[in-house]
Symmetry: C2
Subunit: 215 residues, 2 copies
DNA sequence: GTCAAGTCTGATGCTTCTATCAGTTCAGAG
DNA sequence: CTCTGAACTGATAGAAGCATCAGACTTGAC
């Protein structure tokens, strides 16, 4: 067991060894993200992945045991970045309804500014909504807060989460087929708020508020 | 060009040659459907596909040029069957809102009775919603009818279609993680009707009506 | 400067998949 | 019955990908 396959990134590693290792790992993940966003496939050869990462073939095995491990890491990395982008913009918003509306509209914007993220979100995002880590739990909490305060109306929060997440990914799917404008994001936000139980007028107002810029 | 790779199935072929050919083709498609539903992957070897179809290895190439062609045909075949199942139950319903509610609830039922169909719908269905053939256009027409009659409220029917389709697939996704009961189907139907602009009370009533049996 | 530990590298043997093709079987026509 | 064309079959050669490993390189400690 000559290497440390299982060690996660140490963010600010003290020594240069670990930093080099982390850089190499990130190069591999970045290559996998590219391939995933461009082709939607995970069947690229390890040789091609290594080439894209500008790394020797054998190096792959210093970091991942199988190609699936790498692609899993790439998806996780992407969704983590997506979550942090949303968080950075919505953290100041108290009303859960406004958070959902802003998140939906921002995601559509992201499709233009960060196509790689939204491609991967569209292609691989759904299965992660119900995962115990990632964005799902955060959205679930917002749904429960909104339900407790009487703002949202539904029985099972998990079903509501699936509906919201599925609709969002449906929007990205449509956007991939025909480029959508901001109005489509507003419409989707409004529909989602109505779905969660808000009155139509309120749903419309919240969905057309000025939207903060992404960082 | 010794064979007729491009010939679609002739439903009631006059001669036995064509019937045999159609049977073999269906056996290959059925094998691909199995594999797709079981593993979600399209990476099975042609040898394994041929084995499952109980057909010689070389026979594969009499019917498809590439493995992708076969899996495309398998997905198309599955979604066609799904559409016909829904049609057979909802064709007597006039109100588009009731059609959507019934379709959603029936789809969740299908997950128990026809797991293969719903697995493939969950894994590969989304990209087909916006396709020019298949279920999408039918649902789109219902949305436009409902909008014209003032029953539904939204701007762009395509965005509405993406929202409905995405939410439905989100429901299947959740169902794959934890088995859902019929109440979840009712909740999702109700949320979708609210999303389309129906008043909450009406959405609830329509979503809890008795549901016809599947054939 | 030298040494030890860890990382990077690509050539190599091995396995697996693919696509082809010549021969066999099957169905209908004469 | 025989003949013709089409579909079926599986052995085979060629291509491609995978996992390994021994050597080279990098870093930090002494």
């Amino acid at each position: 067991m000559p290497n440390k396959l299982d060690t996660p990134d140490s963010p600010a590693s003290a020594n240069r060894f670990e930093r080099r290792r982390a850089r190499t790992r990130q190069a591999l993940i970045a290559a996998a993200r590219q391939i995933l966003a461009e082709t939607g496939e995970t069947s690229a050869s390890i040789q091609e992945i290594a080439d894209r990462a500008d790394v020797g073939f054998g190096t792959f095995y210093n970091h991942f045991e199988t190609k699936n491990d790498l692609f899993d890491a790439a998806v996780g990395d992407t969704l983590e970045e997506y979550g942090q982008l949303l968080d950075s913009v919505t953290e100041g918003i108290d009303d859960p309804a406004a958070v959902f509306a802003a998140s939906v509209r921002l995601t559509l914007r992201l499709a233009a500014s960060h196509p790689e993220i939204t491609q991967i979100l569209r292609l691989r995002g759904l299965p992660h909504i119900n995962a115990p880590t990632g964005l799902g739990p955060r959205a679930l909490r917002d749904l429960e807060v909104g339900k407790a305060s009487g703002r949202f109306t539904f029985e099972d929060p998990l079903v509501a989460l699936s509906a919201v997440g599925g609709a969002l990914i449906g929007l990205l799917q449509l956007n991939a087929a025909r480029d959508l404008d901001a109005a489509a994001g507003e419409q989707m936000a409004e529909m989602i708020l109505r779905m969660l139980g808000l009155p139509a007028g309120e749903a419309h107002e919240i969905s057309t508020r000025p939207l903060p810029e992404l960082p």
